[in-house]
Amino acid sequence: MVLAEHTGAQVSEGTHELIGKARELAFELGGVSEVVLLGSPALADQLGAADVVVSVEHPALLQYVPEAYELALSEVLAQRSPRLLLMGNATVGLDLAAALSVRWDAPLAAYACRLGFDGTAVTATVQILGGKVFTEVELPGERGIVTVLGGAFSAASESSQSTPEVVHIAPPPRLDALRMSLLEVIAAADDDLDITSAEMLVSVGRGIDSQENLEVVQELADALRVPLSASRPVIDAGWLPKARQVGQSGMKVKPKAYIALGISGAPEHLEGMRNAELIIACNTDAGAPIFAVAHYGTTLDLFDLVPELIGKVRG
């Protein structure tokens, strides 16, 4: 069973990735793939790759409110008793998965990059410690929840465009007595530049050490005439505006070249840039996960490399 994430108009790409995996597992385990669609029944059209769409409708579900989704999903789990529930590992998964692990009394594996069935048990590989360690785990029992890192699986092909069977589940009564409400949806601010349209990016991570040091990488970005972007820690420290953030909770970019300076490459960052055509990574830690996706790398200190790069670029 997959929880569909949507904006009201569009089912997310991540949802299609999960449906693909759900179909594969359903085939292996001799079951069916189901997608839970909350609040927007019309989107069932976009979910043709699943066998069943389980729909719950209620005014409280028209937009994403954590408690409403948790109540509706709990109801669905109780009624449909799936073998596994799959969700993305982003905001919705971070909101709901661990709570549902308690309510549904099911083991939960988070940050999964691999998921399968070995004949006796459901197994997953989860990435922890900034992506440095891979833990192979087993989910014991007859049910389980897995939250999946973006891009871990390939999307279900839209080939089986038969309209799936739609099952309607009555909304649980507690949806009328929520303890939270949505005040306002805030779209992304567009007063800073748009890094998603840049041909190339110079991107900086924790390795820059201080806000003052940004000057030297900004100079490189200026010399190349491209924007400066960053990984989450630099943004959280307030050193660059939010619009410059590359990663799961920032922007996904696909430039012709991505120069990563002092970025370790935690899965949440890689999700935002791994499809760049040319990735050059500079990190003094030879074991940094960024080198798994970079095409070229160096363990030189960025403070030694960048001034030389600036000189060469300026000619």
Binding site: P66, E67, A90, T91, L94, D95, L96, A97, A98, A99, L100, S101, V102, P107, L108, A109, A110, V126, I128, L129, G130, K132, V133, E136, V137, E138, L139, T147, M180, S181, L182, L183, I186, A187, A188, A189, E199, L224, D236, K242, Q248, K252, A257, L278, I280, D285, G287, F291, A292, V293, A294, H295, Y296, T298, D304, P307, E308, L309, G311, K312
Partner: protein
């Protein structure tokens, strides 16, 4: 208003992580432990609320976490009003360096908070070593409290709680939440405040860590760890060698070959 900030010690990710010889656990002997960076953000957000409203902030750690005393004394030095150390007998499982799963941590915190209720629990949205799921929503479910995660601002003006929840691509939303509630903090409204070593040392002299015993039943339905490993492939990156000047040359060559150098 009382705000609880559960905090966790985690391995410093700057260090190299080594595994035990049987490959089922992390070798914590040479690791440095630091405060989970997301918990540091949660503590900062709590202190910002305290600055604005005079709320009481209590930091809570688990006695079995390495370096937890240092972490709690630092919280006191930064402005927390109280620090609590939970001592419990839980079944340690080798899911991480501290041996205590998030499920067990949540059970211990839930027992304490059920007895000592607060208005608001602020804790980091995640930790680097929480493969069995994140603390905030698990804790909230155990206490049957409303919860919101990936929050970047928490305001309690006028007795009601307003949080900003963040999604991908710069989108966010404002939610009003009834208290008591549990909030998973992604980042505070400003970077965690600095406190000088002298102040921490003073807290260690005069600060009090209250020890509380908790004994929840061990959490069931945990994961079974088969093995752990580092990145298996040697990495696909072709490593460039030479002096900084030589490597810079090679990089410029790569960019030029793709027509990315202007002028």
């Amino acid at each position: 208003m009382r705000i609880a900030v559960p905090v966790k010690a985690v391995p410093d990710l700057v260090e190299e992580i080594e595994l035990t010889s049987d490959g089922t656990s992390i070798d914590s002997e040479y690791l440095t432990f630091v405060l989970n960076e997301w918990d540091a953000q949660a503590l900062e957000e709590a202190l910002l609320i305290k600055d604005a409203t005079g709320a009481e902030v209590v930091a809570i750690g688990l006695a079995d976490d390495p370096e937890i005393e240092q972490i709690l004394f630092t919280a006191l030095a930064k402005g927390a009003d109280a620090a609590v150390k939970l001592v419990g007998t839980t079944v340690a499982r080798s899911l991480g360096p501290t041996g205590t799963t998030i499920a067990d941590r949540a059970a211990m915190l839930a027992e304490y908070l059920a007895a000592q209720p607060v208005d608001l629990v602020l804790t980091g949205v995640q930790a680097p070593d929480d493969p069995d799921g994140q603390l905030p929503s698990r804790l909230a479910a155990l206490l049957d409290l409303p919860h919101v995660s990936v929050v970047v601002s928490v305001e309690t003006t006028g007795g009601s709680l307003t949080v900003r929840q963040e999604f991908a691509a710069g989108r966010s939303q404002l939610l009003q939440v009834q208290m008591p509630a549990v909030i998973g903090v992604q980042s505070a409204r400003q970077a965690p405040r600095y406190t000088p070593i002298a102040r921490i040392k003073q807290a260690m002299q005069t600060g009090v860590l209250t020890e509380i015993e908790v004994s929840p039943p061990p959490a069931t339905n945990g994961l079974v760890v088969r093995r752990m490993h580092g990145r298996e492939t040697t990495g696909q990156a072709e490593m460039l060698t030479g002096s900084a000047e030589e490597v810079a040359d090679q990089i410029v060559g790569l960019l030029r070959a793709r027509g990315l150098l202007k002028g």
